[in-house]
């Protein structure tokens, strides 16, 4: 027996499923707790009631924790941004960031001589004296996380590496995130992603410690993997250093789950959570990816993430007494104590939806006295925003099915003007189902010397190796494929010709009930 467990830790609810192949054996939804591990343990305990933990082959966890932290500017830590560039540039880091994030992450920018030219040559000797002075200022500021970028570090990582060594030597207690490990060519976008990653590290450490402990506590000894933005998984150790790569896994998982639960491969997916609603387009069973530099909570970044519009609307979203204002604040995981339905005194979107006849939760009697006009107005405001987002997600004016998933899916059933919604039976745990179907990935990121071989041969070799690594990581040999390939020529490296190749391959883990191979 080999069961897969999928867990999704949302801002409001923690969902878990046990899957045998594609069959949902058990599913549960529990409130996300302030210490997320308590909610996870509750969910695991619930779904494992009739399952022997020895039969669990792997645990897949998806978490929206980190994107919520960015969207709400909570739990982020201050970051010192060090950029190696000669001379100092006028376009400073965080130039185009939204105002609410800047003060949270801080505006400590240090530009230091260094970096590389396009062909890998030095742009200027690394200013070690200057960098030590910067390290001193960072030490005095008390900031513990450094985002380090360098001009053309994707071509020549050496200046970034040297600066990292120096900074860690001076500041042994700080973390350094190197931009070359996070993003692609394009300094501003790569730097943005690096800063976000650095701001998340403290939170990531705490969250991942908790995940490890709680899975062990539930008696599971199977590998634990975290979902990444592109629908593949990574180990918890890697996630400690690169939480940014999990940042958009929530939408990916819920959209994959929506496809798996409905059998519909092309649709708009609306994922209603406790704090946010994500709207994205499903194409061939996978989320449509953003193919241009993409905004992450208003921050332009350049790695592969699904093209999803996120709105501050969910079950815990605050509603004003007259119903005219819905959000953006949310009670989040405190819904079970603060919402009117649960005995609190905060009016939430769940309260008005249940008052209008949505699937009952809590004590519907507590919202029976709500002003019907205010209830209707709030639902209209919410429905209008969802309808606009669905329109925006669609690529054509033609009719496209709309699948609603997420814990708040039933709330939308009573919203006026939203018709032809497909709400699958297990809508509430689509995220966890999708997480459990995350794929195994393999990556190659290396400089190839082209002495005696061609670029095409090097690329073919890299592709074959990435595929082999994905298979090694568990991908089904018959379904593995290259999902991303990129190469940057280094014309002046060592007098010869060389090329920096980055290839990613991915494929689904084989399902245990292997009748016919599934397309996705």
């Amino acid at each position: 027996m080999s069961y897969r467990i999928g867990i999704d830790v949302g801002g409001t609810n923690t969902d878990a499923v046990v899957l045998d192949g594609r069959e949902v054996l058990a599913a549960t939804k529990t409130p996300t707790t302030e210490d997320v591990t308590i909610g996870i343990l509750a969910a695991l305990t619930d779904v494992l009631r009739d399952v022997d933990t020895a039969d669990v082959s792997s645990v897949f966890i998806g978490t929206t924790h980190f994107i919520n932290a960015i969207a709400q500017a909570r739990g982020l830590e201050q970051v010192a941004v060090v950029r190696l560039a000669t001379p100092p540039q006028s376009m400073l880091p965080m130039l185009d960031w939204p105002d609410h994030l800047k003060p949270v992450v801080g505006d400590r920018f240090y530009v230091c001589a260094g970096g590389a030219q396009f062909d890998g040559r030095s742009l200027g000797e690394l200013d070690e004296v200057g960098l030590r002075a910067i390290a001193k200022q960072i030490a005095e500021s008390g900031v513990r996380h450094i985002a380090l970028s360098s001009v053309f570090s994707t071509v020549n990582p050496e200046p970034e590496l040297a600066a990292e060594r120096l900074l860690l030597d001076e500041l042994p207690d700080v973390t350094v995130t190197r931009s070359g490990l996070v993003g692609r060519v394009g300094l501003l976008e790569r730097e943005n992603a690096t800063i976000l990653n650095a701001a998340l590290l403290g939170l990531a450490g705490r969250v991942i410690d908790g995940l490890e402990q709680v899975v062990a506590q539930a008696g599971i000894h199977a590998p634990v993997l975290l979902s990444q933005n592109d629908g593949t998984v990574m180990t918890l150790d890697r996630a400690r250093s690169f939480p940014i790569f999990t940042i958009a896994s929530g939408p990916t998982n819920s959209m994959r789950g929506a496809a798996l639960l409905t059998g519909i491969d092309d649709a708009v997916v609306v994922d209603v959570g406790g704090t946010t609603t994500d709207v994205g387009l499903l194409q061939n069973g996978f989320p449509r990816e953003s193919t241009v530099a993409m905004s992450l909570a208003g921050v332009r970044s350049n790695f592969r993430i699904p093209d999803v519009l996120s709105m501050a609307l969910g079950g815990g979203t605050l509603v004003s007494a007259d119903g005219g204002t819905v959000g953006p604040e949310s009670v989040g995981y405190r819904i079970t104590s603060q919402a009117r339905l649960f005995g609190g005194d905060t009016l939430t979107f769940s309260d008005v939806a249940v008052a209008a006849g949505a699937a009952p939760m809590g004590d519907p009697g507590r919202v029976a006295d709500l002003d019907p006009t205010a209830v209707r107005r709030a639902l209209e405001v919410a429905a209008d925003r969802v309808a606009q987002a669905v329109e925006k997600a669609k690529l054509q004016a033609s009719a496209t099915p709309v699948i609603v998933v997420g814990g708040g899916a039933p709330l939308l059933a009573v919203a006026p003007g939203l018709t032809d919604l497909v709400i699958p039976e297990q809508a509430g745990v689509a995220n966890a189902v999708g997480a459990a179907f995350a794929e195994a990935g393999g990556e190659v990121d290396r400089v190839y010397n082209l002495l005696g071989s061609s670029r095409a041969e090097a690329l073919a070799e890299a592709k074959a190796e990435a595929i082999a690594r994905a298979v090694e990581a568990g991908a089904d040999l018959g379904q593995v494929r290259v999902v991303d390939a990129d190469d940057v020529p280094l014309t002046h490296l060592g007098g010869g010709s060389a090329v920096h190749i980055r290839v990613k391959a991915a494929g689904p883990f084989p399902t245990s009930n292997s009748e016919t191979p599934e397309r996705n």
Binding site: S90, M91, F118, L123, V292, R300, K394, V482, D487, T491
Partner: protein
């Protein structure tokens, strides 16, 4: 005369990416540069060529370098604020108007940085109606206009003043100098009078960029095809619908040079296309046969959103519509084809207007 605000700047930015034909540099970076200048110094006036007095002096402001370099070694405001003053210092002439050399990409908006800093108007015109990789490939060259006196400033504090005997020589020297700087510098070039501008320039080039940007924005909002909307507005041809399978790209002599190989989707299934680029997309082969060449515009737009994809960003997995758009009539003359036609870039192929290509 009209005032260019941030929204207009955004539309010009999108449209100039289309006119960039894959090159011209990342307009986002140019937009940030121009927006920053407008925020610091105030809004900029855009004037029609006809509003420029015949005796007024004007000059092109442009960046030079490889697009693949500019997204890493970001252009600096300081050079765009400095470059015109340096030309004035060398020539002893005062310039009253600035103008983009190309309405494609970064260079469509960089003159706004100079204009804002100096309080000068920008002329709604350019020397290409698109983007080209060589600085002599501008319409003033067709009318005997000289690229020099010319000034180039780099971020390392170097200034180069040039007088040359031909615009092709200007390109050679500028290219050598920009390589020395690390493939990124600012220039003021092609000084001309208002009277000369009226004869030599592609009129309304920035308005064209703005219209293209608005067309794409509005088509997206209406959920109609931005690709169709662009074709309808510009009278172009859909050359291919496909997925990018492979890209070969290298930085050579300060240019981004390479090919993108596409496999067909929808009606183009079982067919292939190769796009050749040198900063800009210069030629497109369908199943090995040339179907579009410079000076006509060849542009890859993301199939669903119409987002134009620069040659330095195109990579595996993009689903694109490849469009051929007719070049400005200046370019379709014998002199224009000689200066910027396929043979000029080493393709053994006669120019044929892109709209003659039928499916």
């Amino acid at each position: 005369m009209r005032i260019i605000d941030e929204e207009a700047l955004n539309d010009i930015t999108t449209g100039s990416t289309v006119l960039g034909s894959g090159g011209g540099g990342d307009p986002y970076v140019g937009m940030l540069l121009a927006r920053d200048a407008i925020r610091r110094f105030g809004p900029v006036q855009l004037v029609d060529v006809d509003e420029v007095p015949d005796t007024a002096n004007m000059v092109f402001i442009a960046g030079i370098g490889a697009p693949g370099v500019l997204i890493e070694k970001l252009p600096r405001a300081a050079e765009y604020e400095r470059v015109l003053g340096q030309l004035e210092r060398f020539t002893g002439t005062t310039y009253d108007y600035v103008c983009p050399a190309e309405a494609g990409g970064l260079n469509a908006v960089t003159p706004f940085a100079t204009a804002a800093a100096r309080g000068l108007p920008v002329v709604d015109a350019d020397g290409m109606g698109r983007a080209f990789p060589h600085l002599e490939m501008v319409t003033p060259t067709l009318y005997g206009g000289s690229a020099t006196p010319f000034v180039m400033v780099d971020e390392h504090g170097n200034t180069m003043f040039l007088e040359s005997t031909s615009n092709a020589w200007s390109e050679e020297y500028a290219r050598a100098a920009v390589l020395a700087s690390g493939a990124n510098a600012a220039m003021a070039l092609y000084p001309m009078t208002g009277a000369e501008a009226k004869q030599r320039l592609v009129r309304g080039a920035l308005t064209l960029a703005q219209d293209l940007g608005r067309t794409i924005r509005e088509a997206r909002a209406a959920h109609t095809s931005p690709v169709d909307a662009v074709l309808e507005q510009q009278g172009g041809v859909l050359l291919f619908t496909g997925k990018v399978e492979e890209v070969e790209r290298r930085n050579e002599r300060g240019w981004t040079i390479g090919q993108a190989h596409l496999s067909g989707l929808d009606g183009d299934r079982d067919h292939t296309m190769t796009i050749h680029f040198q900063n800009e997309n210069l030629a497109a082969e369908r199943d090995g046969a040339m179907v579009a060449t410079s000076p006509d515009l060849i542009m890859a737009l993301e199939l669903d959103t119409g987002t134009p994809i620069p040659a330095e960003e195109i990579r595996y997995g993009y689903r694109v519509a490849v469009l051929g758009l007719p070049a400005d009539p200046h370019w379709r003359t014998a002199a224009g084809i000689e200066l910027a036609g396929p043979r000029r870039f080493g393709y053994e192929h006669d120019y044929r207007p892109v709209e003659e290509f039928a499916g």
